[in-house]
Amino acid sequence: MVGIKSYGAYIPRYRMNHSTIFGAVGFLGTFPAPGESAVANYDEDSLTMAVAAGIDCINGLRREAVDGLYLATTSQPYMVRQNSALIATALDLSAHIRTADFIGSAKSGTTALLSALDTVKGEGAGNILVCASDCRLSRPGSSQESLYGDAAASLLVGSDDVIATFEGAYSVSYDFPDRWRASGEKFEHAWEDRFIRDSGYGPFIQEVISGLLKKYNLNIKEFAKIAYPGIYAREHGAVAKQLGADPGQLQDTLLSTVGDTGSASPLMMLVAALEDAKPGDRILVTSFGNGGDALFFRVTDRIKGAAGKRAVKKHLAAKKDLASYEKYLAFRNLAPMDLGMRGELRVRTPMSALFRERKEVLSLVGSKCKKCGTPQYPYQRVCVNPDCGAIDQMEDYRFSDKRAAIFTYTGDNLAASIDPPLVYGLVDFEGGGRYWFDFTDCDLDSVKVGMPVEMTFRSRYVDESSGVHGYSWKATPIRA
């Protein structure tokens, strides 16, 4: 049976309380709902968060078994240069896979999932990893600013050993102009909320769920959990009532803890539902955006073996309040910071070298000596072990999934950074290998020699002069 084999999620460490936003831009008239939103760090974007969610989902599984990667987002860094192919490289997946970007609508998350399920059903691929991620830029003071949150969800779709079988789906599509962003624009535009709520949100969700119930001859009460975005809190409950569902069936929307995460939103809720699911549960998940998709799943006995993911719960718990709105603006480059003349130095990204060295740069793959067994990063042709020194006796060795301990570190105030001091250091990997990396998501005061860290894929720079988003791996304290 085709279905979901594994799940994962990623929520950035920073949360910004809506009152922080209100305190800064409240004079513009926005009055946000209580709660907080997940805010990406300065070195995160939808692509890096998709990688993190993907890792959460497939950690412990053989990477060779993944033969497709679908990305869903409305905030992809690249318009040309396939984002899913870059994510697949970061995840060290095989090159012989199918990759696709699903973009342009908040329903793209469910559409990507649906397409993956159909691809596997049609035997186009054995296992497809679906990552839905959004890190949307909103104009300071806009209502989206406190509504939107940054997060990513990931699901591995396959046809064996599934934790939830795919039972059916129904879709509706409308050219609904609630929000739009033209090519080349930075911020979204939106029409009046009452129009979106009354002509789109309420009717579409009812329409797509009713369509599904009718198509498969189901009763709404049969679902253990019903998940659909909750961008209008009161309407969210009203829709359920009109469908005949009990409030207890509704999956938490994460609106006041993470925010509206766009493409990721329905899949975040699905992952959260799976975290609490029991064998036999039926889960209904629906998206909203230019119509919507409704999918439903039945949880299998294998759900018991799916524990151990950070998913939504652990990521929700491991957080740090971002109390400075100004810092948030700097993180999003909405208040361009002076990096000093040192920070202006930029060497054009050598694309040919980036492709040649992609395993080292993007996949964090080094080498392991077949003669003495020493792991080494970056890839060495001559073994670094002074007692070995073998030449060309290497095999690929992936460091991205190895934990490490901090060997030494510093907090550098001279290095150009929008969040100084720049913390970096040397780390010793479990199983061998040492190298130096930037650190992220950590405060200098909490860093100690010997402290355990893990590797995380992050934005390295955005070179606006050449349109290049550069990425590399950093070390970070174990999140949860």
């Binding site: 030494t408 510093t410 290095a415 250091g425 130096w436 550069g470």
Partner: protein
């Protein structure tokens, strides 16, 4: 069996400009200033020079690539000139080239000149440059700076030897107090102000745990030497200074990528020191090396260098620092001219600047009486280019 360089070459003249933020001097001006003093000191003319070696590191905002900046500036008449570049060992590499040139018998008289014009960047610290360590490193390495790279060695030293940050920073502060004391008394030094341990400990952090006064000056300057075969040297002056050892040691990659290095010392300094002592016939460096100019780019670098050069026992440099052993009036004066810390650090010139101080001290000509070290026998210079886990170390030992 290689004989080594001991007593085959002698320095017969040296020159060194004032170091500092020399807004009104170009790199070419500095070359001319150092060269003039150098040939006057040697008592020779330009036409007597058979070959030259030229050291400059950051060529892009200094004088340019290649060796033509030297030949064109000094109007050297179609003689061989070679540019050397090996990070902070650049100046000593120029000196090495000149020494081997005359030692081989290929030339009678050779010039070594190093220069760096750093203060045209528009910002503090060394010039940046993502590609400093190559194309791939620019894509994967942390965005490290020199203070950050050496701060990591301080973090490691404190951790390995159980010093809390307060104890560690106070140990390092004493290193800088001493260098400021010496620099304040040297007319050619960049930073000529004494500072207290309290000022140093309270200074703004540059890269934790290193503060402002743990970092050396970023300076413009040039220094030069004229060398000849030792058997010819007395024809030029009565007090030539002989080369006793010239060594260079480079990282093998095991410090950065293998897991045996303790991070609290510099392996190349230790290995290069052993080779240099062997070449010079030094059995007990703590007793036999009268004085040294070592690469104190940061206070922690000087501290671990004392251990790596075997002036202090491993992990015990704190005791020697606290007892004043390395002060100007101590048993083994270190950085008598103020060091990189206060004399300044124009990369390509630094190795030759260190030799200049040893040369003058050995000749008893340390400008001012209070600067003169009593009866020095052997002087050592040491450069460390790059970063603690991957670097180049050069060591020279000179004596009368």
């Amino acid at each position: 069996m290689a004989e080594g360089i001991k007593d085959k070459v002698a320095i017969i003249g040296m020159g060194c400009t004032k170091f500092g933020e020399l807004w009104n001097k170009s790199g070419e001006d500095l070359i001319v200033d150092a060269f003039k003093e150098c040939i006057e000191d040697a008592g020779i003319e330009k036409k007597d020079i058979n070959a030259a070696w030229f050291g400059v590191h950051f060529e892009e905002q200094s004088v340019g690539k290649g060796a033509t900046p030297l030949s064109l500036t000094l109007k050297l008449p179609f003689i061989p000139v070679t540019r050397t570049e090996n990070f902070c060992a650049t100046g000593t590499e120029a000196f090495r080239g000149a020494c081997y040139g005359v030692a081989s018998g290929a030339y009678d008289i050779a010039l070594a000149l190093g220069v760096e014009k750093l203060k045209d960047t528009g910002y503090g610290g060394l010039p940046g440059g993502a590609n400093l360590l190559g194309t791939k490193s620019a894509l994967i390495n942390p965005r490290l700076t020199a203070p950050g790279a050496f701060a990591m060695m301080a973090t490691r030293y404190f951790s390995v030897y159980g010093l809390n940050p307060e104890e560690g920073k106070r140990m390092l502060a004493k290193v800088s107090v001493k260098s400021h004391y010496n620099g304040a008394r040297n007319p050619k030094a960049h930073l000529r102000r004494e500072v207290t341990e309290e000022q140093i400990v309270m200074a703004p952090i540059i890269a934790w745990p290193l503060g402002l006064f743990d970092c050396c000056g970023v300076s413009d300057g040039s220094a030069a030497a004229i060398v000849t075969r030792a058997d010819m040297a007395k024809k030029f002056r009565k007090d030539p200074v002989r080369v006793k050892a010239l060594q260079i040691a480079l990282s093998s990659g095991e410090e950065l990528m293998y897991t045996k290095w303790d991070g609290a010392h510099v392996e190349t300094t230790y290995r290069g020191g052993i080779q240099a002592y062997k070449e010079a016939g030094v059995k007990n460096p703590r007793e036999e090396i009268s004085m040294a100019e070592v690469h104190d780019c940061f206070s922690i670098t000087e501290a671990v260098t004392m251990e790596d050069l075997q002036f202090s026992p491993r992990g015990k440099v704190k005791e020697d620092i606290e007892s004043g052993r390395f002060n100007h009036d101590g048993a083994q004066p270190i950085q008598p001219d103020g060091g990189l810390k206060c004399f300044g650090h124009p990369i390509g010139a630094s190795g030759l600047r260190m030799l200049y101080e040893m040369y003058k001290q050995l000749q008893g000509k340390a400008q001012l009486p209070e600067r003169q070290i009593k009866n020095p026998k052997l002087g050592l210079t040491h450069n460390l280019g790059g970063f603690p886990p991957m670097n180049i170390v050069s060591i020279a030992i000179v004596g009368l």
